[in-house]
């Protein structure tokens, strides 16, 4: 269990920088998710933490001590790969005992520990099987047990749920969270799935193009995205992003002009979440062009005076049909405004 720090971390490949200017502190026992689209440098960061890659510049510190030059096998890090990477030539028990081989643990003792951790991840009935005889979820648990058996300082999860079916993903999410809490191990989860990140982690780090876009809780990211990228990446169905022109406290979006109390000028982007738009007689006129029932809710796509805008209504109230005219309204404090060129949020409330 360690406090992990990354200082000015950078990794260059032959052609481009995979990771640049990453500064992070992960508190002891925290569960942190690194979230980003594929190719954003999140796995590279993870492998630098594991010691598989060496950073080009910058430092990695465990509990304040620099570990850049410590080899992977001495870092006491547990890793669960997307493919689980179980050793097919060994039984489940041998797989779990494998890390203890290199720690000079007696065989009887390592067997005892392997059994203990197997019970924790609930695979104690499968110890004699081969990995190929297990289902995806079971393999996942074995990989987790193998990563945890040596009581790592840091647990790394690289897209651990992406090979599971939807129902199993749900159970494993809760399971991993439970096990992490029980052991109190510092954990870094790498994922491109925002649901995974928001449901499992205490804090989320959003990465894009090798840089950290924003760090914070799921609520922070959702309600106060620092950049246009975070706003568009977080949330499903995605936020409505409407191009506009700002001048003298007014933002002109499509055919609508909105007053803002911000010193915005030039090209801006207005962001409104689909659930923040409500049907209201006094609102902006819109015409429903598509209706997509999603179970509990219905997603409408409309052609409005704001442009193409999506909004959500609870299934019980939803009764609009394609071609219906509605009027949409949003509370100004819900919407966010971004500078289009820098992509940064303009820290201001919209007046009306």
């Amino acid at each position: 269990m360690s406090r992990i720090e990354l200082r000015n971390l950078r990794k260059d490949w032959a052609t481009a920088a995979a990771v640049a200017d990453v500064n992070l502190t992960i508190e002891d026992g925290a569960f942190v998710a690194v979230l980003g689209p594929s190719g954003c440098g999140k796995t590279t960061t993870l492998l630098m933490l594991a010691g598989i890659y060496n950073p080009t510049t910058g430092d990695i510190a465990f509990d304040g001590a620099r570990v850049n030059d410590v080899e992977a096998r001495d870092r006491n890090v547990g890793i669960v790969c997307q493919s689980y990477a179980l050793y097919p030539n060994m039984s489940v028990l041998e797989n779990i005992m494998f890390p203890l081989r290199f720690k000079k643990v007696e065989r009887a003792e390592s067997k005892r520990r392997a059994r203990e951790i197997a019970a924790l991840v609930r695979i104690d009935a499968l110890l004699d099987r081969r990995p190929s005889q297990l289902s995806g979820g079971q393999q996942q648990r074995v990989a987790l047990a193998r990563a945890l058996v040596k009581r790592p300082h840091l647990l790394l999860l690289d897209e651990p749920l992406s090979n599971l079916d939807a129902a199993l993903r749900l159970t494993m999410r809760t399971e991993i969270r439970r096990i992490q809490r029980e052991l109190g191990v510092t954990t870094v989860l790498v994922t491109h799935d925002q649901i995974e990140a928001t449901t499992m982690a205490d804090r989320i780090i959003v990465m894009n193009a090798g840089r950290v876009e924003q760090e914070g809780t799921a609520k922070d990211l959702y309600e106060r995205p620092r950049t246009l990228f975070v706003a568009s990446f977080i949330g499903s169905p995605p936020i409505n992003l409407l191009d506009g022109e700002a001048e003298d406290g007014l933002v002109k979006v499509h055919q609508t002009t909105i007053a803002v109390a911000a010193p915005a000028r030039g090209a801006v982007v207005l962001g409104i979440r689909p659930e923040q738009l409500h049907v209201d007689e006094t609102g902006t006129p819109a015409r429903v062009v598509a209706v997509e029932p999603m179970g509990r809710e219905v997603l409408y796509t409309t052609d409005s005076a704001l442009g193409i805008v999506r909004f959500i209504e609870a299934g019980s109230e939803a009764h609009h049909r394609e071609g219906d005219s509605v009027a949409l309204r949003f509370s100004p404090e819900d919407a966010v405004l971004f500078d289009k060129t820098s992509g940064l949020r303009i820290d201001a409330r919209i007046a009306a």
Binding site: L47, A50, G51, I52, A72, R73, D74, R75, V77, G78, I79, C81, Q82, S83, A85, L86, Y87, P88, N89, F98, P99, R101, F102, K103, R146, K150, L156
Partner: protein, 360 residues
């Protein structure tokens, strides 16, 4: 808008499902029978010579060879095989198939014993315990005086093949791993070089190699041939092993290293077991290749105490061909037996080698 109407429906409203199912079943078994017939047909030119060799070794006596034993045996065995394959494609129950098979086998054996039983003998295999067979047949051997015991040649062949296998497995697995996993300057050129070396006709180098062996004092030694063969064969096996290593996911090695293994431990404990099929295949091929080697051993081994099995067979054939076919056939059977056994037991690994190879 024009309406389209079919004058006559293309398929009946209520198809006769049972008839369709029966037709599909018939078609399936017909296809299988055709396949079986084809395989039988193409295997004839492969099996017949071996079978003839076996028959000669068991029946021929000094002098000419009569083919009537072969034809008699074929007249019994071919119908038996044909009947069994027909039964196999028509009878679905495995129990019934087994019973028919055993019955046919018993009938064939009885017929064989009755027809040619009195002509079977093991005299031709006397080379296994006698050394001077050639002199017994035709006064003096042409090959360096006294003929050696077949067991000396057998041992030499074994030494050559086993050491060859060990060298190739060790070098090919290490080199294949390195090429598969590490980037180094000239990697592409190296890979292409391997392919060129593999395609290069090594036979053209036989005189320079002879001279080199002579100068370094390895001419007429098993070790010399071993080195030459290993060098010529290695490029191909390195390439094959690279293919197998390429198929082992990098994730697994990475896991092993974060689990606390060194790179070498990861290789030995995790990666190597996953290419075991490839190792076995390469080992079998290397062994058989060295076992069957003729041109290089013929050139580089001179004294008869250094003969390997192929040379022994060559000299026997050279000395008694035309006089005693039986003994040549018997030596051939003895020579082919180890390769045959290896092939039979390692068949399933050998078929996977091509897959690994193509991946590379």
């Amino acid at each position: 808008m024009a309406t389209v109407t079919f004058e006559k429906p293309l398929s009946p409203a209520r198809p006769d499902w049972q008839a369709l199912a029966a037709r599909a079943g018939l078609r399936r078994s017909a296809g299988q029978a055709a396949l079986l017939a084809f395989l039988l047909l193409v295997s004839v030119p492969i099996i017949l010579p071996y079978f003839w060799m076996l028959m000669i070794s068991l029946t021929a006596r000094t002098g000419g060879v009569s083919t009537d034993v072969l034809w008699t045996a074929c007249a019994v065995i071919v119908p038996a095989v044909l009947i069994y394959s027909i039964v196999h494609s028509l009878v679905p129950s495995p129990r019934l198939r087994l019973v028919t098979g055993l019955l046919l086998l018993a009938i064939a054996c009885t017929l064989l014993v009755a027809l040619i039983g009195d002509r079977l003998h093991f005299d031709n295999y006397r080379f296994l315990w006698r050394t001077n067979i050639v002199e017994e047949i035709r006064s003096k051997a042409t090959a360096g005086g006294q003929f050696p015991s077949v067991w000396i040649a057998f041992r030499n062949s074994l030494v050559l093949a086993v050491s060859q296998t060990v060298i190739i497995i060790t070098v090919a697995s290490l080199a294949g791993y390195y090429i598969s996993r590490f980037a180094f300057r000239g990697r592409e050129a190296f890979l292409q070089g391997l392919l060129v070396l593999h395609a290069f006709p090594a036979m053209t180098l036989i005189i320079p190699i002879f001279l080199i062996l002579y100068w370094v004092g390895l001419l007429d030694t098993i070790a010399g041939v071993m080195l030459v063969l290993a060098t010529i064969e290695l490029p191909f096996y390195v390439f094959v092993m690279k293919g197998f290593f390429d198929a082992v996911p990098w994730d697994i090695e990475m896991s092993a290293m974060t689990d606390g293994a060194t790179r070498r431990q990861a290789f030995r404990l995790v990666v190597l077991p996953q290419v075991s099929v490839g190792l076995i295949a390469v080992a079998v091929f290397a062994f058989i290749r060295a076992w069957e080697e003729y041109i290089f051993v013929r050139t580089f081994l001179i004294e008869n105490k250094n003969w390997v099995m192929s040379l022994y067979l060559f000299w026997v054939a050279d000395d008694v061909m035309g006089v005693d076919y039986g003994i040549v056939a018997a030596v051939s059977v003895f020579y082919v037996l180890p390769s045959l056994l290896l092939y039979v037991f390692c068949q399933k690994y050998l078929t996977q080698m091509t897959i690994g190879g193509i991946k590379g």
